[in-house]
Symmetry: C2
Subunit: 407 residues, 2 copies
């Protein structure tokens, strides 16, 4: 049987009892004849504690030294998990990100993986060949010249997928607190079903539509290198959701799932003089302030002025306002208004490419449920709308029903 890469997050390794639980799970897979490489995060809370301690020393610690500090979180977990495996008789050996040969660029605290040192990959293979479980610290790597780096949010998922690629693993299991990707949030629609298989693009669109399961960058990396992975729960043994290359069968399902993102705020810049370059300058200053703009709608110009609306995540609203207001005054727009009580409903499915009428069906369902649509945005395999937050769950249920996603 082949090599499996498993990734356990901070909650799964949160204390000694949980680390021992992970060790038993790993031992069970090993007992079935698999080779295992296990990627782990820092114990939940540790990274925040370390950041707090750094800020006690210096309000704005250097990213380079912050990485040296943060990397100790996963280094602790790999050693403890190796010991827990030894304790139940399973040979295991730990690797920090650097020891695993993960080379990144030098953008500290959000580095990108560039390649692997072949000698270190060979070393991991040698350990696997001897029947040892290889344990790798997630979230970290080193620069070409040996400086510690960390990969930023979702970094451990990224490590797992990269390790699976480097070792040519048969599968990569991402253990989380949900047991897969659902057609929609089961807390909103009790009849929501787990999706057995999903294409990378669908998973990407669901991530950008507000699904908390995985960061888009890990899915992009998997897509780029064709690493098939499975989202599973560390609390049970249920099969999860497999994310892989699109195949023929996938297109037959028009809508794969419905997402709800409540973390949205809508900004309208009204009375913008309708001349070339104004929108570019607006989104330029927002980008310069690191505000991530999601949906953008510009109304048709009438009488030489236009309104531009866009959405940002709520925690970036203040930043967006600070960045945009000077420009609003400068170009002589009539005002900047923001609204927080909104939410985004999205339907995602690669079948949309070959099936028409999805947008119409979605709008019908929302209208029948009495919801007013404030903004619309579409991509090749996703349709998103902004509605009042108060009615958003009703809208999700209506759309989920409309496309027959229930059990």
């Amino acid at each position: 049987m082949g090599l499996i890469v498993q990734k356990y997050g901070g909650t799964s390794v949160g204390d000694v009892a949980r680390i021992k639980n992970v060790a038993s799970r790993v031992a069970r897979w090993k007992g079935e004849g698999h080779s295992l490489a296990v990627v782990v995060s820092a114990r939940s809370g540790v990274t925040n504690e370390l950041i707090a301690r750094a800020k006690e020393v210096k309000a704005q610690p250097s990213d380079r030294e912050l990485d040296v500090l943060l990397a100790i979180g996963e280094q602790e977990t790999i050693a403890l998990l190796a010991m827990a495996l030894h304790d139940i008789g399973v040979p295991a050996v730990s690797f920090t990100g650097a020891q695993a040969g993960i080379i990144t660029d030098d953008v500290h605290t959000k580095a990108r993986i560039r390649q692997f040192r072949p000698g270190r990959v060979a070393e991991m293979r040698k350990c696997l060949g001897r029947g040892e479980v290889v344990i790798v610290a997630g979230f970290q790597g080193e620069t070409e010249d040996g400086r510690v780096t960390t990969l930023g949010r979702g970094g451990s998922d990224l490590s797992a997928i990269a390790i699976a690629h480097a070792l040519g693993a048969e599968s990569c299991q991402i253990y989380t607190d949900v047991d897969g990707v659902y057609t929609t949030d089961p807390r909103i629609v009790p009849g929501a079903r787990k999706i057995p298989e999903l294409s990378y693009e669908e998973m990407l669109e669901m991530a950008s539509a507000g699904s908390k399961v995985m960061q888009a960058r890990s899915v992009e990396f998997a897509n780029k290198y064709g690493v098939r992975f499975e989202v599973r729960s560390s609390m049970n043994e249920n099969p999860g959701t497999i994310v892989k290359e699109e195949d023929d069968g996938m297109e037959q399902v028009v809508v794969r799932g419905v997402s709800l993102d409540r973390n949205q705020a809508k900004v309208t810049v009204a009375g913008v003089p309708d001349r070339p370059g104004v929108a570019a300058r607006l989104f330029g200053v927002l980008a310069a302030a690191s505000v991530n703009v999601d949906m953008i709608v510009q109304n048709v110009s009438a009488s030489g002025v236009t309104d531009i609306s866009f959405t940002v995540s709520r925690d970036e609203l203040a930043k967006a306002r600070a960045a945009a207001e000077p420009l609003v005054r400068e170009v002589g727009a009539s005002g900047f208004s923001a609204r927080e009580g909104i939410a985004k409903i999205s339907v995602v499915g690669i079948g949309m490419r070959s099936h028409g009428g999805v947008a119409a069906g979605m709008f019908e369902a929302l209208a029948a449920a009495g919801l007013n649509i404030q903004m619309i945005s579409t991509s090749e395999i996703k349709i998103s709308v902004i509605v009042d937050e108060a009615n958003a769950e009703k809208g999700v249920r209506a759309v989920h029903d409309k496309f027959g996603l229930g059990g």
Copy 2:
């Protein structure tokens, strides 16, 4: 001005306030025009916490994984100290043991430094050349093939001396909670004086005589590579004690200092058949059980049996008993007895080589003070005696006076 290596122990970097204090001290030396490389330990208590957590996972954790775990203690300190220096405007960059190029053997948890990776030393020099303070994690290194190792007790002192050697430092300052090496413990003899200069051999003999200032292995390393170092206090700015190659002036002082070691237990194996090989077997089983034997005395044989007495540190007495008793029975010795209420007084000085009468003077002083000598052992530059613990301090005062060491 040249390069100074400074080493700060766990108490000196015990919390954020103390780390900031170390940063100001470093900044002050830097402000005087020196280049600085700073070696730090883990915050006091951290190493013990980590060991406790490891033991929760596995009663006997593997030394290899224990090293991966323990190394995070110093990695935390180097990052925090770098941040503290940045906070007061001093450029600084951190290096783990591996990043500093410290290569050790693979005896995990008590590795020996073998050499430095030249490329990493060049990197440290480059940073120093740019005016950056180089901060190195003490107590750790890596094997030739990249496994994390730790150096065992006193390891950070060893790191500092090795770094001073590798970088060709002008001086190496070991900061401790005492401000130097004294002629004897000032709590016993208020008139004890700080010794301005000491040879490596005297420092070694004082370490083995119970001085807590430094582990013998660090002094041995300094001696081997001719690294001059200074023991200083991190609480004040007083000059400390410089330890260096013996020079002509040093021999003029016959006795450099008087040490007292209370952590002694005396074991007597009585009625040992006086035939060849019995003593060898006795000390063989003790060595196999990792019992460090200090002084050994064998009485003159009478009537075919003999008594062998030796001293061990008190915490190894149980281990010594367990190792020796089966042999005592096997060889037909009449008994094994142990005594804890004893102490060792030693006088040390390279001047003894060329000056006779030191032993006689010491014994006279002890006799005049009413002390009975239970065991005697001598080396080229040290004389040690075992006396009752109850009178030991009186003995130290008498010997200190006798050789005119007071202020």
